[in-house]
């Protein structure tokens, strides 16, 4: 499936969702190019599942909108539902169904269902079609659920904690198949996960949410280039450090800061006596933004421009 590269696969504009009086997600604005594998990171209750449900069309936004390949997602419409495959947390399946029943269910409810893909995947995984879902291992169930999502042939695949309940080997197999599907068909994948190491290995785009707000978004390479870890003398004020300080650890002799700043500024600063700089790692970057108290829209805008300014 090919799409014009100029049209983002996912684009949110002021996206927000309120539950009663509390906002589950607010002021979300981002844009993700087609074919990306997007890591969606955040603490529990940060709004990850809300963002995915809004993307899929299971929920309608309270404000703003999210578009999939240029068309706004409309909850409960066939158009929107057809554009995004969703694999919910704990990969729900009908336990009493056989694998073949699950696929027939998929075929009945999806005009673009790809039976060939579904059966070929089961054959290559050695999962018999006549096996009951409840008789399969957790890893096999996850694979059946992934196959359902892939056989729907939607250009975007949304995964909510897809490997949380799987053992390490099943995780590897599952994620390998997601990446392969993305590489083969140009599928755009958005995946919520707590496993940062996994995301570092797979993702080329990052969305960090905390407290219902977007903290960071961008291409992983650009984000890493736009941040640095500075080791500075203890009690150096944030104001003396280039760029904006995202996270700070003060130890007895010196302070370690994660800063969003361009490499030239960082290089100049690091030449001062007692200062040292090293590139930011993926995990440091994610944890830094997760640790930072949730920021307002204006501040989030600054953080984003800090990230993108360096990239250009």
């Amino acid at each position: 499936m090919t799409h014009q590269s100029s049209v983002p696969a996912l684009a949110a504009e002021g996206l927000g969702k309120r539950y009663g009086h509390a906002w589950g997600l607010r002021d979300c604005t981002f844009s993700v190019p087609a074919g990306s594998i997007v890591g969606l990171v955040g603490p529990n209750g940060a709004g990850k599942t809300t963002l995915l449900a809004l993307t899929v069309g299971l929920l309608a936004p309270t404000e703003g909108e999210i578009s999939v390949f240029g068309s706004p997602s409309r909850a409960n419409t066939a158009d929107t539902l057809a554009r995004v495959s969703y694999l919910a947390q704990d990969h729900p399946l009908y336990r009493g169904f056989t694998v073949a029943d699950m696929f027939r269910f998929g075929r009945s409810l999806n005009p673009s269902w790809d039976s060939g893909l579904a059966e070929a995947r089961m054959a290559s995984l050695g999962i018999p079609l006549r096996a009951k879902v409840k008789a399969l291992s957790g890893g096999q169930q996850a694979q059946v659920a992934l196959t359902m999502a892939l056989a729907k042939r939607a250009p975007v695949l949304a995964l909510d904690e897809p490997v949380a309940s799987l053992d390490p080997l099943a995780r590897l197999d599952f994620m390998r198949d997601v990446v392969a599907a993305s590489a083969e068909t140009g599928l755009t994948v958005i995946m919520a996960s707590h496993v940062i190491a996994e995301l570092e290995r797979l993702c080329d785009w990052l969305l960090v949410v905390a407290g219902g707000r977007l903290q960071l978004t961008g291409a992983v390479d650009d984000l890493l280039a736009g941040h640095a870890v500075l080791t500075v003398p203890r009690r150096t004020p944030d104001g003396d450090v280039p760029g904006s300080t995202i996270d700070r650890t003060d130890s007895e002799r010196h302070s370690t800061l994660l800063v969003a700043a361009n490499p030239e500024q960082v290089a100049v600063a690091a030449s001062q006596p007692g200062w040292a700089a090293e590139p930011a790692g993926f995990e440091q970057l994610v944890l830094g933004y997760l640790r930072r108290p949730p920021v307002t829209m204006a501040m989030a805008g600054q953080a984003r421009t800090a990230g993108t300014a360096v990239a250009s």
Binding site: V56, G57, L58, L59, A60, T62, A75, N76, T77, A78, L81, A82, V84, S85, Y86, A88, Q89, D90, P92, L93, Y94, R95, F97, D101, R104, F105, G106, S108, L109, N110, P111, S112, A145, M148, K152
Partner: protein, 297 residues
């Protein structure tokens, strides 16, 4: 959706078939036996001859055949079947999806949840109507000889003839469906649906039993011993018309003041009680559809 609905509800469909088979066998046996007893007791000739007026003793002895538990298991079963089966079919429809999280699978396919629910409701309620109508047909036939000489205006026959059984079934189905959406639990939805159904069921039973509400009063002249013997239990009824439901007889000189429900009120009462069940069902299902739609906002 037809296959999906069938695959997800086939266990209930088989349970309904089993119940249907049991009632069909019991009902046909009862009907055959009642017909032979009806003929053996000479009721056809008596009714043709006197229009029922002289058949009191014959009718009483014919009826006594059915008093010793021959019909009791069937009529008790028919009392609970609509609530029970309606709840068993309605409870899981949304309750199981919400309980097991499979709603996220079902409603993220290309069919929007409104159409998904409409298809399921259409197919399942059609199956329930066919089931209810079939039971009603069999039981109406089986009970025919008893109806010919007795009162259809009160339970048990009122509950399984006409439209009341089918409407009661749909009522329990709708209540259990709504309970499933609210409780997000299959068993809880079945239990709650059944007990919620007891409310309209008790109202319907009271209306057609103790609280007869479509009564008419007439004054009937009488003489001597006939006056003294007249009671609500007289066979045939003091109104002289088999099938009338006499609720009170008061003697006033040479007259009886009789309150009764004429036999031809059967259908108005059916529509009233059936309509009450249907109204509850429509409100419950409508609420479920609305809540389901609202969940996305």
């Amino acid at each position: 959706m037809i296959w999906v609905t069938w695959r997800q509800h086939r266990v209930q469909a088989f349970a309904m078939l089993a119940v249907f088979a049991f009632i069909a066998i019991y009902g046909v046996a009862l009907g055959v036996w009642a017909r032979s007893a009806f003929n053996a007791d000479g009721l056809p000739a008596c009714l043709a001859h006197s229009g029922g007026a002289d058949c009191g003793a014959t009718i009483t002895s014919f009826f006594s055949r059915f008093n010793r538990g021959a019909t009791l298991p069937l009529t008790l079963l028919l009392f609970v079947i609509p609530g029970f089966l309606g709840a068993v079919v309605g409870g899981p429809l949304l309750g199981a999806e919400l309980e097991r999280g499979t709603w996220q699978l079902a409603w993220s396919q290309t069919v929007p949840r409104g159409r998904w629910l409409a298809a399921k409701l259409g197919l399942v309620s059609t199956a329930l109507v066919v089931f209810g109508a079939s039971i009603t047909a069999i039981m109406t036939w089986a009970w025919g000889p008893l109806d010919a000489v007795s009162i259809r205006l009160q339970p048990p026959p009122f509950n399984f003839e006409g439209i009341s059984l089918t409407c009661a079934l749909l009522c329990a189905f709708g209540l259990a469906l709504l309970a499933g959406l609210l409780l997000r639990n299959t068993i809880g939805a079945m239990v709650a649906g059944y007990f919620a159904w007891e409310v309209p069921f008790v109202v319907g039973t009271l209306l057609t039993g103790p609280l007869q509400f479509m009564t008419t009063t007439v004054r009937i002249p009488c003489a001597g011993a006939a006056c003294a013997a007249a009671s609500t239990n007289s066979t045939p009824p003091v109104t002289g018309h088999l099938g009338d439901f006499v609720t009170s007889v008061v003697r006033s000189g040479n007259e009886l003041i009789v309150s009764y429900v004429p036999a031809d009120r059967f259908w108005p009462m059916q529509f009233l009680v059936g309509g009450m069940y249907l109204a509850v069902a429509v409100v419950a299902i409508g609420t479920a559809v609305w809540l389901l739609h609202r969940r996305t906002t």
